[in-house]
Structure formats: C-alpha cells, structure tokens
Symmetry: C2
Subunit: 151 residues, 2 copies
C-alpha cells in the first residue's frame, strides 16, 4: 500500500516513474517528490510559496480553471503527468480527480517569462469545475464589456 494505491491508482507506470527517481514503493509512504532544480530556480513564488497554474483543455483550447501550485504540486504534476495543485482552502495537496474522478492528464506544461505562472494543456476527464460545468468560467459566466471600445 502506498500513497497512490490508496487513492486508487496502482498503474505500473507510476512505479516506473518513481523508481526513476530512486524511490522505494515498499516503504509505504511516498512523500514529496523533489522539484527538478533547474525548474525550481526558474520559479518566482508568491508570499505563500505558490505559482499560478492556468489549465487549458488541449482538444478545445478552452481555459478550464486557474489553480495554485506549490513546489511539491508542480513536481508531482511533472513526474506523474497528472494535474496536481495546492488547495489554499484546505491547505493541502490537491490531486485533482481523487474525489470526483475528474482527473486531468497533462499533455504539456509551459512556464511564463518571469516564472510566476504555469500553463498546462490537459485532457480533462469529466467536468473541470466542482459545480459540474466543463470550465470554471462557464460557471461564473460573462461580464459586460465594451467590446472593441478603443479599436
């Protein structure tokens, strides 16, 4: 039994990924994956040690949600290919889909020019928003804007 197995994923791929990092799955608890040092040096974290993550659906280009990542969340995302965030409300790691089943499979990850934002392209299983909407911006909806006012 390990952290991933408890959450319902016991694919051999995980073992392969973790063993690449010299981790021993027999020890019960995986613990935090260290973030690649080169990536870590590029991050510009906020006061809470987090960077912003924009999550975009690869197949449609729709922006699904904005979330936050700790170093550990980013490391786990990059290592496992699954969208993992830091829940500011629960103050804990948030492996998206553990409760809802609405897992995000990461297609690509990019960092911005000043290192304080990450852009993920994902394949989204089910709805991205906790309300059941495809995108969190579908739930919030449009704001009135003077379109092209200065064009």
């Amino acid at each position: 039994m390990n952290g991933f197995t408890k959450r319902g994923s016991s694919k051999p791929e995980i073992k392969r990924l973790l063993s690449r990092r010299g981790r021993n799955l027999e020890h019960g608890k995986i613990g935090a994956m260290p973030l690649d040092q080169e990536v870590s040096q590029r991050l510009k974290r906020n006061e809470a040690g987090l960077v912003c993550a924009v999550v975009q659906e690869a197949s449609t280009g729709r922006v699904l949600m904005v979330a936050w990542m700790s170093d550990d969340a980013l490391a786990e995302t990059l290592e496992t290919g699954r969208g993992v965030y830091w829940s500011r409300s629960r103050n804990e790691m948030w492996r998206k889909g553990d409760t809802s089943g609405h897992v995000q499979h990461v297609v690509s990850a990019e960092i911005d020019c000043d290192g304080d934002a990450i852009l993920l392209q994902v394949e989204q299983s089910g709805a991205a928003c906790h309300t059941g909407k495809n995108s969190c911006f579908d739930e919030g909806g449009p704001l009135p804007v003077a379109v092209g006012g200065l064009s």
Copy 2:
C-alpha cells in the same frame, strides 16, 4: 488634457464611454472608474486586493499572459474594452500598450466560479510579452512532463 490624452489616446470613443458614466472630461483628471457593484460583489480578491487575469488570444486560443487586476483595472477594462491591469512591480495601473503600442482589444470577459479569476479573450496588437514573443509562455517555454503518465 486628461489622463487618457496624456497617454496618447484621445479617441472620441473614450469620451463617449466616459460620458455614459457621467464624467466630465473638461475637469482635467479622470480618476478611477467605479466597478459595477454587481461585478464587485462577485470578486474574491487576494490579500493585496487583486484578482488573477488570464489573457487568451481570441483568434488562436493561445494563452498570452497572466496578469493581475485591481477593482479599478477591471472597471477600466470593462468600460473601455482595453486590457488594463495592476502592475505589482511598479505598483500602478498598467494600460497594456501605452508604452509598447501592443494594445489588447477585449472581445469578451468571463469570471470564474469562485470569483478570483478573470478570463479575457483579446485581439492582441503586436507581441503580448515584453520580450517580443507572442505569448509569455513562448518565452518561458516547455517544462519536461511525463505525458499521460497516469492515463
């Protein structure tokens, strides 16, 4: 002379938009535009009073940048149809394109489910990134990710 004229925009459209809000352009300084109360009530601001803004190119779906908005920046964006942000580094309003000419014309604005993020669809004049790249994520570039690791 008014705030907009000093920054190089003196389009009649601005006068029209502002006069809709009962502002007198003859008074020299425009001052902050108040945010619509209904929109204001939906915002969940961070400790600095800001919300996150994700800016997406309407024609391509490419995410161009992540920026921050004060109430005033959001109000001006919605009122003028131009991308306006709060510069955290300069601690002042940032009317994107005033210096570079790389103005963003807003096509649509949406708010997310919990009110702490705004998604803008824009037509971008020139490059969005200060480095000259189309997107800030082109400048930062890809991070290594175990694609589909858990699929």
